[in-house]
């Protein structure tokens, strides 16, 4: 029996649920992870990643010393180097001086538009706040974004439009108080496993009715009263038809509409064409299911809506989210426990990275960069001369990739892996090859870092202090459990060290980087981010605090909008059905939709360097038996999947988990990178790409062509 040297309580680094972890440490290594049964978020339950997946910290491929590329890289000739022989080890001083030289050089020549940064939803609030402060205060650019753009950007824009807020309205555990709840575009059992447990218990133990609206027969369908299997991209017609039935059958909450909303009359007029019959014709969902779903949702005492990336990851993602918001506004199913609009955030800290301003249009607290009063406030806060900060919106992630070579010359990537996660990877790769200078700050030499000039080895979540903000706005502590591995450093210390060098080189007055501990960074965040005004580390010791936290005695906010919306009245907005941008045709007859599996995380930097990879070692494409018959593919057979942008090879899994006409491929596997196939067309307002629908062709291959794991570095 192993006795731990110590047990450190911290927050899980995987998904947005934010489970409490106890790391059991022996000889500075984690050998067991437990969770206390009184943990408010997860009640001691964990998923496979939190309980068994933290071994990536100790993986032999972890890079723990600064590296510099031996071969100088040039725009157009930039290459990927996974082999350590292509790199030489450097001191931190040398690596950071080189980064300072090159970034300030590009800045001198090309100005603020020449630089951009990818911040990181895996890193802490403090890490994110500091990186955006560096690029804004020193390089005067708003070209900073992170994977929220590829995630819930459409939901955020729609929620900001309609309510003036950009987060879950309620606490996930309140599903226990819902009589009816809708889950749409969320494979909750695999992507938010602990919230799924609470949903299952709500159904099985308390008799709540679940409505699943999703093109896949996901596990939650086993618990559902209704399943509406819609074709990818037909969300607006389906939800608008539900709204149509609610209005038609007199199920709308007129008192709520009158007291709390605006724009209803115009919206109501726009619902005319969205009959259940019309919705059935475009979505494939039986009209009777639409009617039944409308009656069930509107007729409930308390009904809530949960959604994930199946809603926003479309070129009309903002409209999709708006069509959900309308349902809550017209029935008054918001502002009480067990109701609400609940976008389940993917990353452990995507809410926090967004809150802390790692976005091109917003300072911390969703305060617009184009608002002069806001900009002046940040001029003062960061010791910048009046008018010094950039007043123009910066570029989003996909726009940054598109602008490489045209305006963007130098890129700083903290902890993200766009060479796996950006859409249309062949194009993205071509763009990355045009960079003049690339810095990667990461744990592993992933597909993006391999393109870099300089690799800065960062600390894992278990090697640093900080905070994460989970999907229901709970700010929780991250605590250092083990010493920094090798020469790795915490992200916040890397950013501060670099910032001091850059501001000295640029001759700027200091913006303030002398923090002894992340708690001091949080104290600064509290001064500029109103929702975090009352957050101090000493207040986060137990279960954390849910934002908004208005002052240092405020208890936090479990659910929002009891009396009013931040923008005043909830806003209805008439919608039109805009089909997916790439329709199927004879050459590309199937719709590809992408997503995650339980055992893996996004671009795979972490989970493919873990024992989790033994549990799910190979990409599999889900194919309906009907399409398997048409394409002549047997279960387990290798297939070639092609879109207009690329081709991959992987094995097929014949299953009715996906509906006929739709195939599903997870995006974690470099050997068969789903994003070689996806589209880089984006939602016009949220700039989120259409990951959830593009046209593909599937062809059977012989066994010899099967993808080999040896291809992986």
């Amino acid at each position: 029996m192993v006795t731990p040297d110590r047990i450190t309580t911290t927050t899980c680094p995987f998904c947005g649920v934010g489970c409490k972890l106890q790391l059991h440490i022996k000889d500075d290594a984690i050998y067991q992870v437990t969770s206390p049964s009184d943990a408010v978020v997860n009640h001691g339950n964990l998923c496979v990643k939190g309980r068994f997946g933290t071994d990536f910290i100790h993986h032999r491929k972890r890079v723990t010393t600064p590296l510099i590329r031996r071969q100088p890289q040039t725009p157009g000739g930039r290459t990927q180097a996974f082999d350590r022989a292509a790199w030489r080890e450097a001191t931190w001083d040398e690596a950071l001086e080189l980064v300072t030289d090159r970034l300030t050089g590009i800045y001198a020549k090309h100005g603020p538009d020449g630089l951009a940064a990818f911040s990181c939803a895996k890193a802490t609030n403090e890490d994110n706040y500091l990186l955006q402060k560096l690029f804004r205060a020193l390089f005067r650019t708003n070209n900073i974004d992170h994977c929220t753009r590829l995630c819930h950007a459409g939901s955020v824009v729609a929620l900001m439009d309609a309510l003036g807020s950009a987060a879950m309205s309620n606490t996930a555990a309140e599903v226990a108080l819902s009589d009816v709840f809708i889950v749409t575009g969320s494979n909750t059992a695999e992507t938010h496993p602990i919230i799924a447990l609470q949903m299952k218990a709500a159904v099985r133990k308390r008799g709540a009715k679940l409505i699943v609206i999703d093109p896949r027969r996901i596990e939650m369908v086993d618990y559902a009263a209704l399943w509406l299997p819609l074709r990818p991209g037909t969300d607006v017609p389906v939800f608008s038809a539900i709204a149509h039935v609610i209005a038609r059958d007199g199920l709308a909450n007129n008192g709520f509409i009158e007291a709390r909303t605006e724009g209803y009359a115009e919206f109501l007029a726009s619902l005319g064409p969205f009959t259940p019959e019309y919705a059935e014709s475009v979505s494939g969902v039986d009209r009777r299911l639409i009617v039944e779903a409308a009656r069930m949702y509107a007729g409930a005492a308390n009904a809530s809506i949960y959604w994930a990336l199946g809603i926003p990851e479309h070129t009309h993602g903002t409209d999709n989210a708006a069509s959900l918001i309308h349902l809550a506004l017209m029935t008054g199913q918001i502002g009480r426990p067990g109701t609400g609009l609940n976008p389940l955030r993917g990353q452990n800290n995507v809410q926090g990275a967004s809150d802390c301003g790692a976005m091109p249009w917003h300072y911390p607290g969703y305060q617009s960069v184009t608002d002069e009063a806001v900009a002046q406030m940040f001029d003062r806060a960061w010791n910048v001369e009046p008018g010094g900060l950039n007043r123009a919106r910066g570029l989003s992630t996909t726009e940054i990739v598109g602008a490489i070579g045209a305006t963007v010359r130098g890129l700083y990537v903290m902890g993200e892996n766009p060479m796996m996660s950006e859409p249309n990877l062949n194009h993205a790769r071509h763009q990355f090859e045009q960079l003049e200078f690339l810095v990667a700050q990461d744990l592993f030499m992933n597909e993006t870092a391999a393109f870099a000039d300089v690799f800065l080895p960062a600390a894992s979540f278990a090697e640093k202090d900080g905070t994460f903000t989970n999907t229901d706005r709970r700010v929780q502590r991250v605590r250092q459990a083990i010493p920094l591995r090798g020469n790795a450093r915490a992200d916040w210390t890397i950013v501060c060290d670099l910032a001091l060098r850059i501001e000295a080189r640029l001759g700027r007055p200091t913006a303030g980087w002398a923090y002894a501990h992340p708690s001091e960074v949080m104290a600064e965040i509290a001064q500029v981010l109103p929702d975090y005004a009352g957050i101090r580390y000493e207040r986060l010791e137990g279960e954390g605090l849910q934002t908004p936290v208005d002052d240092t005695s405020h208890p936090g906010t479990p659910f929002l909008f009891a009396d009013a919306f931040p923008r005043g009245r909830g806003l209805f907005r008439p919608l039109e059905y805009i089909p997916a941008v790439e329709p199927t045709d004879e050459t590309y007859p199937l719709i590809l939709t992408t997503g995650r599996v339980l055992e893996h995380w996004h671009g795979g930097s972490i989970t493919r360097n873990s024992r989790l990879d033994e549990l799910f070692p190979e990409a599999l494409m889900e194919l309906n038996p009907v399409d398997a018959a048409t394409t002549g593919v047997a279960d387990g057979q290798p297939v070639r999947v092609s879109s207009r942008r690329g081709t991959i090879t992987l094995r097929a899994k014949v299953t009715d988990k996906t509906i006929a006409g739709v195939v599903f491929i997870p995006f974690h596997f470099v050997e068969a990178a789903a994003n070689l196939l996806t589209l880089d067309d984006v939602d016009p307002r949220a700039k989120i790409p259409e990951y959830k629908a593009c046209a593909v062709r599937v062809e059977p291959l012989q066994e010899a062509a099967r993808p080999s794991k040896r291809g992986r570095r």
């Binding site: 339950n45 133990k205 024992r611």
Partner: protein, 218 residues
């Protein structure tokens, strides 16, 4: 409204809510009833019989974890009869099971003065270690059959239903259906079972490797 009931435990009057168990009611006034299988995360099942108490009007000892408090009930939690029952349970368990990593049982053996050699020479439960997946190891020689793992795999948490009791009587063991390896079952490797295991029967593979540096699990 929640209804209250009154009962007497070891001569003390306790008020509790209808539906509460004797174990809950005793805990509320600081009376410690020993348990082995009980875990607040799981629905109690009264399997281990360590928490037995005397209840007036009841012929047999009652398991406090599943006995509901009712109005006027009188409970005794310590008596020679109770101690003998607990001791015998521990002596039989010690004879058949490796209790080296069940601290609650070891503490109760010391507390009750159980003679762990009393049934020495009887059959021991020593099934082989099961290491059929990359996440955790199952060493059922250490299993005290508390059923917590089965419950958290089912309705008490995960709704995966990958494991259950297999066999009857002495040969009862936790197993997958048809004895399949875990990766071929509905198991999702959440490890809720590992989290509630009180006896070291379920362990993360990494912890197992630290204990057995000379080789992988069998």
């Amino acid at each position: 409204m929640t209804e209250t009931v009154h009962l007497t435990i070891n001569g003390l009057t306790v008020e509790t809510t209808r539906g509460a168990t004797v174990l809950d009611a005793a805990g509320a006034i600081g009376i410690d009833i020993p348990t082995l299988c009980y875990d607040p995360r799981c629905a109690p099942n009264g399997l281990c019989r360590m928490c037995v108490v005397e209840a007036t009007g009841a012929r047999l000892l009652q398991a406090a974890c599943v006995t509901r408090a009712v109005e006027g009930m009188t409970i005794t939690t310590e008596s020679p009869r109770i101690t003998r029952a607990r001791r015998t349970v521990l002596e039989m368990l010690a004879a058949s099971t490796d209790l080296s990593e069940t601290p609650d049982a070891l503490a109760q053996i010391a507390e009750t003065g159980a003679d762990i050699a009393r049934f020495a020479g009887g059959r021991e439960r020593r099934p082989p270690v099961v290491a059929d997946n990359p996440m955790f190891v199952r060493d059922y020689a250490k299993c005290i059959l508390c059923w917590r793992c089965v419950q958290v795999c089912a309705e008490d948490a995960q709704y995966a239903f990958a494991i259950n009791f297999d066999g009857r009587g002495f040969d009862t063991q936790i197993a997958t259906f048809f004895g399949k390896p875990l990766p071929e079952t509905t198991c999702v490797f959440c490890g809720q079972c590992v989290g509630v295991c009180p006896s070291g029967a379920l362990k993360p593979l990494r912890a197992w490797e630290l204990e057995h540096p000379d080789g992988p699990a069998a």
